[in-house]
């Protein structure tokens, strides 16, 4: 394969960013891995131009975001409707939580105590459990720094709907954090 070594280095450099973006948007590490593979395959197809581009990271981020939204729109909704797999997903939540924990970066030595680390894992799991229509705009707003309007444009829904869904998502996460605080 021509240029496999530079491309391998390219994948190593960006794989955490691509996978992390996809995992947070999709809330599912398995699907995030599938999407990441598609994204890097597209990157390979235009690698000669992309390798030297200073905006390669931004390009990858945008493609990842679009692929995730396509994935949610085209595949997951259809799959859920005809297979009624929602209950199966709920059953596999604990398994997904564990695989999500495995993807978390190691805490930098003494900076994080165990309690704080545990709270973050639970927050990550709560984020993952949010329904798609709340998690996706929430992640786009807080972690991708997109505005309400651009989120509404991207998702093809009204501005009010975006604000409502994000607020409900925040409330759910707040309850999770409150439970964590109370349990201390």
């Amino acid at each position: 394969m021509t240029g496999s070594d530079p491309f391998e280095a390219f994948v190593r450099k960006y794989q955490d960013m691509v996978f992390g973006t996809a995992a947070r948007l999709l809330g599912n590490p398995m699907e995030a891995e599938d999407v990441a593979q598609v994204v890097f395959l597209r990157a390979f197809q235009r690698f000669p131009a992309l390798a030297a581009s200073p905006t390669a990271g931004g390009w990858l981020k945008t493609v990842t975001r679009n692929e995730c939204l396509n994935h949610l729109t085209r595949y997951r909704a259809r799959w859920r409707l005809f297979s009624e797999m929602t209950s199966a997903r709920d059953e596999s939540d604990s398994e997904s939580d564990q695989s999500f924990e495995a993807t978390l970066a190691a805490p930098d030595s003494s900076a994080l105590d165990a309690e704080q680390q545990d709270q973050r894992v639970r927050l990550e799991a709560a984020l993952q459990r949010l329904p798609d229509h709340q998690r996706v705009p929430l992640v786009l707003f807080h972690m991708e720094d997109m505005s309400y309007q651009s989120i509404a444009d991207t998702l093809g829904v009204s501005l009010g709907k975006v604000k409502t869904d994000i607020h409900r998502g925040r409330e759910t996460l707040r309850r999770q954090l409150k439970d964590d605080d109370a349990s201390r």
């Binding site: 496999s4 996978f19 992390g20 729109t73 993807t103 805490p107 929430l138 998702l155 607020h167 954090l177």
Partner: protein, 157 residues
């Protein structure tokens, strides 16, 4: 909690989440997929990824075919018309009588059909057409609704 405070707190909490690490299986998967893609023959890929000379050759061939069709079509039409005009069929007396009878039958059938159309079918054509259009619109609305509910924006709405 006030919405602005809530936004600030959730923003801090989410931004403080550690970066997710890609699983160790991702890199081998990507490289295998890339290798599989790269091993495809060039003609099985998108046209713009073909070797330059093949792209040029295919474009030239396409233009040649289009030009050939453009030049040859009038010639073929003229040739067919000339051959059709040159054919003389021997017509006997009995055959001409049969042809005349058949022509009369055709005229009778055509006038009967025309009468039936004007008397029976004609008044309903407009309504049938309207019904057809309404059914088409209804089908399109059902398809759009199904697409929205089943395949469309349900994930985001």
């Amino acid at each position: 909690m006030h919405p602005v405070e809530l936004q600030g707190r959730i923003d801090r909490e989410l931004k403080s989440l550690p970066a997710l690490r890609a699983p160790g299986t991702l890199l081998p998967r990507v490289l295998a997929a890339v290798r599989h893609w790269a091993d495809r023959p060039w003609y099985a890929r998108a046209w713009f990824t073909w070797p330059m000379w093949w792209r040029v050759a295919s474009a030239v061939a396409l233009l040649a075919v289009l030009a050939g069709v453009g030049v040859a079509l009038p010639v073929v039409q003229d040739s067919v018309a000339a051959r059709a005009a040159a054919v003389h069929l021997p017509v006997s007396v009995s055959a001409s009588v049969d042809v005349a009878a058949a022509a009369r039958r055709v005229v009778v059938i055509a006038s009967t059909l025309r009468t039936l159309w004007v008397a029976i079918a004609g008044p309903f054509v407009a309504y049938a057409f309207l019904l057809l259009v309404l059914m088409g619109l209804l089908c399109a609305a059902c398809a759009a609704a199904l697409n929205r509910v089943a395949f469309g924006r349900t994930a985001h709405s």
